[in-house]
């Protein structure tokens, strides 16, 4: 279990660093989402499933979607008709 936690914590650090170094905003949001998912797993390892449920729903779900919506609103990511600006 400690080995698994170590892997997860390492993944967390990698995610956190790559979020700030990624130039594509869409990529950094998706990496942030995976950060939240890994964090939810770590909460379960730390025996707090309450927090894990909230983290998975709010951190990985709702926050990410709000980021996507905001990016779409300021035209930072492509529209639905396939015109990608990147």
């Amino acid at each position: 279990m400690a080995f698994l936690q170590a892997i997860l914590l390492g993944f967390l650090v990698v995610c956190a660093i790559s979020v700030s170094f990624s130039r594509n905003l869409l990529n950094s949001i998706i990496i942030y989402m995976s950060f939240s998912l890994v964090m939810a797993m770590i909460w379960i390892c730390l025996e707090s499933p309450d927090l894990a449920i909230t983290e998975a729903a709010v951190g990985a779900g709702v926050t990410t979607i709000l980021f996507f919506v905001t990016l779409k609103k300021i035209h930072a990511i492509g529209q639905e008709d396939g015109k990608d600006k990147h």
Partner: protein, 325 residues
């Protein structure tokens, strides 16, 4: 739809006849208070002279040339170099500060630590008898610290109110957008998305309801369950569009659910605070720990918080996306 509109119009004319509804119409903004009381002259549209326009254009061009001339802009180069150095210095000093703060913390799991005091001992030892909740965390935040949680729920309510004030569009604008381009905001009948949502949405909703109702028995509670239901609602909207969602979750339902749950929470909570603070016996039975109907005020408050949070999550998405519910 047609009949409904007619009924609405009828209601409106009836409303106008009543004098008591004047206040309501003023509150809804139907009537302009200056209308008829004040002489209003139609405003002329501002038209800048061609000379002014040309001057502004020239100034803008000059400005752009100066700004875009990076190679010869000395200030910009100095600023860029200083910015990089200062950013690194700031980050390093911040990390050093945090590491220093962590090194001052007492080691984990020692008996003499400040968090190991009589409060947590009381929660752990007598929480089950006093709150009737098997899950200590829920029992703690909804009974011993119910006042804090009430404040948090109010923060959520105020946050949505602020988002509504900033992002809500007029109904007329929304209608026009809809007739211009229906489902402008969502992917148009994506088969994969709709199939997945068809399977996943009921599961998500049921899981959310389970998490809310079982908050005092196992992991979960109002906030987590509400967030799960809100995420499910957002998935449903993304897959099937706002029109289908509005059949069961429109602005009227949203307002009623949100305000009712907050008021219910306030009423249950204040009964609990008043009886608790004055040493009066409260008449909410605690029930047998482990049963679904147990834990006194925890179950109803969990349901209220769950509705509140689910509404908030969905409203955030809808307001960001579309400007209306």
């Amino acid at each position: 739809m047609n009949r409904r509109e007619k009924e609405k119009r009828k209601e409106k004319s009836e409303k106008e006849e009543k004098k008591s509804s004047r206040f309501e119409s003023w509150l809804d903004g139907d009537r302009d208070i200056y209308d008829g009381n004040m002489e209003l002259r139609p405003q002329k549209e501002y038209e800048p002279s061609p000379y002014l326009l040309r001057r502004q254009e020239n100034e803008r061009k000059k400005m752009e040339e100066r700004v875009n001339d990076v190679a010869r802009n000395k200030e910009y180069r100095v600023f860029k170099r200083a910015y990089r150095v200062l950013a690194v210095v700031f980050c390093l000093s911040f990390i050093a500060l945090l590491v220093l703060a962590v090194s001052w913390l007492p080691p984990v799991g020692q008996a003499g630590n400040p968090d190991n005091n009589e409060v947590s001992a009381r929660y752990i030892e007598e929480g089950l008898q006093e709150t009737g909740s098997v899950n200590i965390v829920t029992g703690m935040i909804l009974t011993y610290r119910a006042f804090d949680t009430f404040g948090e729920t109010n923060v959520l309510f105020i946050a949505t109110c602020c988002v509504m004030v900033m992002l809500m569009l007029d109904e007329a604008v929304l209608k026009k957008q809809e007739t211009d381009n229906d489902r402008k905001y969502e992917p148009k009948n994506d088969a994969i998305l709709q199939g997945m949502a068809f399977i996943l949405c009921p599961v998500i909703f049921i899981f959310g309801i389970y998490v809310i109702l079982g908050g005092h028995l196992g992991p979960g509670g109002g906030f987590s369950g509400g967030a799960v239901i809100g995420a499910g609602l957002i998935l449903y909207v993304i897959a099937f569009g706002f029109k289908k969602t509005q059949r069961f979750f429109n602005e009227a339902v949203y307002k009623t659910a949100k305000i009712t749950s907050l008021v219910m929470y306030g009423l249950i909570g204040s009964y609990f605070y008043i009886t608790g603070a004055n040493g009066i016996e409260n008449h909410i039975p605690l029930g047998l720990p482990g049963h679904i109907l147990s834990g006194g005020i925890i179950l109803p408050i969990n349901i209220c918080v769950g509705i509140e949070v689910a509404c908030t999550m969905y409203a955030f998405y809808a307001l960001f996306r579309r400007g209306g519910l």
